[in-house]
């Protein structure tokens, strides 16, 4: 089992001879062999603290059990994870951890995904010998989005290390000592950084609570779907959790090529507009609301009879949607295509290397691959000019962003100069007044398809909608129905099917398919061994 030139170490794990790259910790090495040693304070993205002691195992090199998260493998080392010594050690640690723990799982948001709960079940004694009073620690706000329920804190310091090492903001500390120790902030300096939400994810218990998610759902009732954040061009891998088709929470999903174990708070909390009052969910013409079906036929009608057509695309559209728009535009002689971009935001880089892009949209790269590198540049300007000089009579515009004012001032003016305006929009707003047809559009979390992030990585986003209970027809389907009405398509395909067509038509995509992108995506330019991105985000 030699791995290239990596030097290997042979050691004994539960009586079996095994091999791992030299220098690995016992915990990581054991996990490679499917032996799961429990942890609280260990997190693969943080420095090793070794303070919780739940990972103790028996070693032939030490009279006492040793901690597997910090001790490294060595030739001839013999480790037992299930011997009496190891089991007894874990049992005792669990009993200690629970001495002051309130066991308020029924009202705790972490319940169901709590490591303390899991380990208590697997490794703990089934009752406590502690008859004294439990001590009380503070419950308080630590910042605008996070509070601490101190009684639950097991003082693993994951959150403190996160703020020191990953966000580099250092707002958290452990105050006091012994059984009074608990996490806190310096008086007057709240935890308020763009990565703060991650501390709640990595807290192994329900001590750090997200005000955004507090009492919102029991985790076992939610559906989880692997997806990608559309908040910026980084494209963090995420899990979208929904209850009855409504988003309740976003969590980062491990992808060492993109976002490690983290996501930013802009992305994490940036989905409320999906359910805002000004969300557009029904289609309408200039004078009446339309049923969803007739919106499609009206649209098809417009398109088939249109002359001097222009398409205005945005960088929120998936490659699949763009491919369908491309199909339509190529079937209409002399149609022109240009794109608009939302204003640049601020970029942020953290000491760990995690970056938030200034491009607050997910798929500029994809649009440029399909419509050419000038689509948001010169083509956009040309389209603006054409609109200004009234050379466009039918405009089909897309606005998938969260802004209610649409593509922004210069565009909103110009768009009005097209005689017929068909607008796909996520949000309703004044700029839509007088449009011939307004069609509800899917927002990033509602799309099935692929985006290309700023590093050129092709990744799959999945819709949060409950299948069979879609609030309206997504563009992926609607655009295909229009194509069918225009007789340039014979049947409606899934996102994977549309991607297949894209891969046939546009060379840049030819090496890829949905299935080989897996959970973690691939660089567009290169085929690579599939990155295994399983392993959770705790």
């Amino acid at each position: 089992m030699a791995r290239g030139d990596t030097p290997m170490t042979r050691w004994l794990l539960n009586g079996q001879e095994v091999e791992n790259p030299t220098g690995m910790t016992i915990m990581e090495a054991a996990r490679e062999h499917g032996v799961d040693i429990p942890d609280f304070c260990y997190h693969p993205g943080l420095s090793i603290a070794g303070n919780c002691r739940i990972c103790m195992v028996e070693s032939n090199r030490s009279p006492k059990p040793i901690i597997a998260c910090s001790e490294r493998i060595a030739d001839g080392l013999e480790i037992k994870t299930d011997s009496d010594v190891a089991v007894e050690a874990r049992n005792s640690v669990m009993e200690f951890q629970l001495i002051n723990h309130p066991l308020d799982c029924p009202v705790c948001d972490k319940s169901g995904e709590c490591i303390l709960q899991d380990h208590s079940y697997t490794h703990g004694p089934d009752r406590s010998r502690f008859v004294e009073d439990k001590n009380i620690r503070h419950t308080k706000e630590l910042g605008p989005t996070i509070s601490i329920w101190g009684n639950r804190c097991i003082v693993c310091t994951r959150c403190v290390r996160f703020c020191d090492e990953i966000s580099g903001t250092g707002e958290l500390c452990v105050v006091e000592r012994g059984d009074r120790a608990v996490v806190d902030v310096f008086p007057g300096i709240p935890i308020d950084n763009a990565m703060a939400g991650n501390t709640v994810d990595i807290c192994p218990v329900g001590a750090l609570i997200s005000e955004d998610f507090k009492f919102e759902a029991r985790v076992w009732n939610m559906d989880r779907r692997d997806s990608v954040c559309g908040g910026c061009a980084r494209g963090c891998n995420i899990e979208v959790e929904t209850l009855d088709g409504y988003v309740k929470r976003l969590l980062p999903r491990e992808n060492l090529e993109v976002n490690d174990w983290w996501m930013c708070d802009h992305g994490r909390y940036g989905w409320r507009h999906l359910y805002s009052e000004n969300r557009l969910t029904t289609a309408r013409t200039a004078n009446q609301e339309l049923e969803d079906d007739s919106a499609t036929s009206t649209l098809a009608d417009f398109v088939s009879r249109a002359k001097k057509v222009a398409f205005l695309i945005d960088p929120f559209l998936t490659c699949e949607e763009l491919s369908l728009i491309h199909g339509l535009s190529s079937s209409i002689p002399d149609s022109i295509v240009g794109g608009w971009l939302p204003p640049k935001g601020t970029a942020e880089q953290f000491p760990s290397g995690f970056t938030i892009s200034s491009a607050k949209h997910p798929n500029r790269r994809g649009a440029e691959k399909i419509f050419g590198s000038k689509v948001f540049g010169k083509d956009g300007k040309d389209l603006l000019k054409a609109l200004d000089s009234r050379k466009v009579s039918t405009l089909i515009a897309f606005c998938g962003g969260p802004a209610e004012e649409g593509p922004g001032s210069s565009w909103s003016e110009a768009i009005r100069k097209a005689r017929k305006r068909i607008v796909f929009s996520v949000m309703d707003g004044d700029w839509l007044k007088g449009a011939s047809l307004v069609v509800p559009a899917t927002a990033p979390l509602e799309k099935e398809g692929t985006w290309i992030n700023e590093d050129g990585r092709l990744q799959r986003a999945r819709s949060c909608w409950k299948p069979g209970d879609e609030p309206f027809c997504p563009e992926l389907v609607r655009l295909q129905q229009v194509q069918m009405a225009c007789e340039i398509r014979t049947r409606c395909l899934s996102a994977a099917g549309v991607f297949r067509e894209l891969a046939e038509n546009i060379k840049a995509f030819s090496q890829h398919s949905h299935s080989d992108l897996g959970d973690g995506g691939l660089p567009l330019s290169r085929r690579r061994a599939r990155v295994d991105s399983k392993g959770g985000t705790r």
């Binding site: 250092g170 500390c173 452990v174 000592r177 012994g178 806190d184 007057g188 300096i189």
Partner: protein, 168 residues
């Protein structure tokens, strides 16, 4: 105490000397805090912030260290800080009775300061004087092998010191 705390030239020299004695800047935090305590009289929010800025470490990290140790003088501590050891040897030799006695005599519970501002009472971890348990530390002095009478006497003595203006 000045509005914005700041080390005197002399203290700054000493701080620099601390830095030269430790491998990392952070390692010099403990003596620097002690120095700050001597300079400023106590360690409150402004003082901890000053030390954090001076040493370029996060205020939270300083806060964590100051609260970890019971030995630093936190803001609002009375003139006499009675720190009763409550760890094993002292506990076995009756430290809980010592605490109760002080509480009764002064009308304060551990963690509180008397209204007159003279006394603060805390229960602390082992002070390294287990052979003379039970014991307490009052400001910089140890009082060992305590009986309840000793406790009463100590309080009387401190009261009279205070009224005569002798520094404790």
């Amino acid at each position: 105490m000045a509005q914005t705390p700041s080390f005197s030239r002399e203290a700054m020299k000493q701080y620099k000397w601390f830095l030269s004695r430790y491998p990392t800047r952070r390692a010099a935090l403990l003596p620097t805090l002690r120095l700050a305590e001597q300079q400023f009289g106590e360690l409150g929010v402004a003082e901890m912030r000053y030390v954090a800025d001076l040493m370029k470490i996060s205020p939270a990290a300083v806060f964590g260290v100051v609260t970890f140790y019971t030995h630093y003088r936190r803001a609002g501590t009375g003139k006499f800080h009675l720190q009763v050891c409550s760890t094993l040897s002292c506990a076995l030799r009756g430290s809980e009775d010592v605490v109760t006695r002080i509480s009764e005599r002064l009308g304060i519970s551990p963690g509180e300061t008397s209204e007159c501002g003279l006394f603060s009472l805390s229960k602390v971890e082992c002070l390294g004087s287990c052979d003379t348990a039970p014991m307490l530390q009052c400001n910089d002095d140890y009082h060992e092998g305590l009986t309840l009478e000793d406790v009463d006497q100590l309080i009387e003595q401190l009261r009279s010191e205070a009224s005569q203006g002798v520094n404790g």
